[in-house]
Amino acid sequence: MTTPPSHIVELRDVHMQFEEKKVLDGVSLTVEPLQRLVIMGQSGSGKSTILRLILGILRPDAGSIFFKQFEITRLTPRKLRQIRRHIGMVYQYSALLSSRNVRDNVALPLEELTDKSAEEIEHIVDEKLRLVGMDDAKSMMPSELSGGMRKRVSLARALVMEPELILFDEPTAGLDPVISSVIDELIINLTEKSKVTSIIVTHEMESAFRMGTRMAMLYQGKIIEDAEPEQFKRSTNPVVRQFLSGSIEGPILEGSQDAIATK
C-alpha cells in the first residue's frame, strides 16, 4: 500500500521512453499547494512530457504519478476524466477549438461537464474573460486573434472549471517581450487570486524567474536542480550555470549535433 501524499502532485521515479529515445530517467518531483513550479530544460528534454503524464494523456513506462491522493497511473478512463476536471492546461499554441468562437471555447467545459444553467454559464464565461481582459472579444473566432490574445482565452478556458492545478506549456513561447511580460503578470495574478497551484514549463529565463516560486531543471531525463529562485541562480551545477548564462561553452552541447553548428 503506497502512502497517500499530502502534496498536490507527486512524481515517483518516473521513467519514459519514446521508441529509442529515453526522455525521463527516474524523475521524482513534488509540488506543494499554491506553489508555482517552473520546470526548465532544453527543447525536447521532456518537460512537456511531464505535463502530459500528470494529465494521464501519456502513461509512464515505470514509476507512479499522484494528483492529491489519486494515483493517475492506476485510474480507469472514467475516473481519469473526472480527475482532469480539477486540472487546467494551457497549451503552447493555445489549442483553442478553431470551429468555435471565444465564448464557446471558454464555455465548452462548463457546457459539457456541469449542470449549470445557460445564465450561470454566461455569467462565469463573462467573469473569466474579464479577468484575462478579453471580454469584448467574445464573438471573435480564434483565427482572428493574435498569439497573446489566444493565450489569454486559453487561460480563461483553463480557469473556468475552478481547477486546483494549472499546467502551462511554454506560456510565452512565440510572443514578443512586452506581451510575454503581460502574460507572466496575468499568470501570477490569477494563480494568486484563485489560490491555484501551477506547474510552468518554459525555457525562457526572464519569464521563469518572474513567475516561479520554485525552479527545477530537467537535463538528460533527470531533475538535476530543484530550489527556490534565488538559490537556483547561485547553483554550482555546471549544466545549470551554462543554461542560465546561455553560453556555448559547457557540458550541454558536448557530443550534440548543435555543437557542430558552432564550430
Binding site: R52, I57, R84, Y91, Y93, E112
Partner: protein, 283 residues
C-alpha cells in the same frame, strides 16, 4: 533497424529472396490485423464512453452538434446522390432496354432497375459517394484538430473525445445513410420511368405497377440494412483515420486519402461478403 531495412529494400536482388517475400506478406498481414483490431477497439471505446455518459444521466452529446452533422453529411449530400443515381438509372434503363427489346421483353426493365437499385446499387453507390464526400471531410477535420492539439485539449479538460467528436458524426451517418440510399433508389426509378415512357412506350401508371410487382419487401429490407451497416463503417473508418493522424499537414493529407480508399474498399468488400452470405443462407 529502420536504417537496415531501407538498405535492404534498395537492393533489387534481395527482393526476389523468398524469405523476404514471405516476410513481406507476413508483415502486411500483421499490419492489416493490427488495423482491423485498432478500428474494432475504437468503435468499442466510442460506445463505452457514450454509455458511461448516459449512465451519468446526461445526454451523450448536444442535439445541435448532432443536427449540424446530419445537415452537413446528409442534407447537403442529397443533390449529389440524387443526380448521380438519376443518371445511372437513365443509363441502366437505356442499355438493358435496348437489349431486352430484341426479345420483346422490355417490360422487364422497370423491375430490373428497381430490384438492382433497392437491393444493391442504391446502398453501394451512396456508400461510395459518402465515403468520398463525407468520410474525407470527417478525416480531414478530425486530423487537423489532432495535429493542432485540439483533440488533446478536449481530452485534457476531462471531456471524452470519442464521445464528443466521434459519436455524433457516427450516429449522423448511421441514421442518414438509409435515407440517402432511399433517395438514390427513388431517383433511379424515376429516371427509368422517363426512359420507359420515351423509348419503350410504358405509361407511368403501368410502370408503377410493374415496379410494385417486381419488388419484394425482402429487397427493400436488405437494402436498408446494408445502408445502416455502410454508414457505420464509413464513419468509423473516417474518424479512426482522422484521430490517428501523425505528422502535420502532410499527415492529414495521407490520412484523408487512406480514409477514402479504405472506406470504399471496405464498403465494396463487405457488400460482396454480405451478398455471398445472403445468397447461400437465405436463398
Amino acid at each position: 533497424m529502420a536504417h537496415q531495412q531501407s538498405e535492404g529494400s534498395s537492393e533489387p536482388l534481395l527482393q526476389a529472396n523468398p524469405v523476404l517475400v514471405v516476410q513481406g506478406i507476413g508483415q502486411a498481414g500483421r499490419n492489416l490485423l493490427a488495423e482491423v483490431g485498432g478500428m474494432f477497439w475504437f468503435v468499442v471505446q466510442t460506445f463505452q464512453e457514450t454509455l458511461d455518459r448516459i449512465r451519468e444521466g446526461r445526454a451523450p452529446f448536444r442535439a445541435s452538434s448532432f443536427f449540424r452533422h446530419t445537415e452537413r453529411a446528409g442534407v447537403e449530400s442529397v443533390p449529389l446522390v440524387g443526380l448521380v443515381s438519376f443518371f445511372l438509372g437513365l443509363t441502366m434503363a437505356l442499355l438493358t432496354g435496348y437489349q431486352l427489346q430484341r426479345f420483346g421483353t422490355e417490360r422487364l426493365v422497370p423491375g430490373l432497375v428497381a430490384i438492382a437499385f433497392t437491393r444493391e446499387l442504391g446502398p453501394l453507390l451512396t456508400g461510395i459517394m459518402l465515403a468520398a464526400r463525407v468520410g474525407a471531410a470527417f478525416t480531414a477535420e478530425l486530423g487537423t484538430m489532432k495535429v493542432s492539439e485540439e483533440v488533446e485539449a478536449i481530452e485534457a479538460m476531462g471531456i471524452g473525445p470519442l464521445r464528443f467528436l466521434v459519436a455524433p458524426r457516427t450516429l449522423a451517418l448511421f441514421l442518414l445513410m438509409p435515407c440517402l440510399s432511399t433517395i438514390s433508389n427513388i431517383a433511379a426509378i424515376f429516371a427509368t420511368s422517363l426512359v420507359c415512357r420515351a423509348y419503350f412506350s410504358i405509361a407511368f401508371v403501368y410502370y408503377l405497377d410493374l415496379v410494385q410487382d417486381a419488388l419484394l419487401i425482402r429487397d427493400i429490407v436488405t437494402g436498408v440494412f446494408k445502408s445502416f451497416m455502410f454508414g457505420l463503417l464509413i464513419a468509423a473508418i473516417a474518424c479512426y483515420r482522422g484521430l490517428n493522424v501523425k505528422g502535420g499537414a502532410a499527415g492529414v493529407g495521407t490520412a484523408t486519402t487512406s480514409s477514402v480508399v479504405t472506406a470504399i474498399t471496405t464498403v465494396i468488400g463487405v457488400d460482396t461478403l454480405y451478398n455471398v452470405v445472403y445468397v447461400i443462407f437465405f436463398p
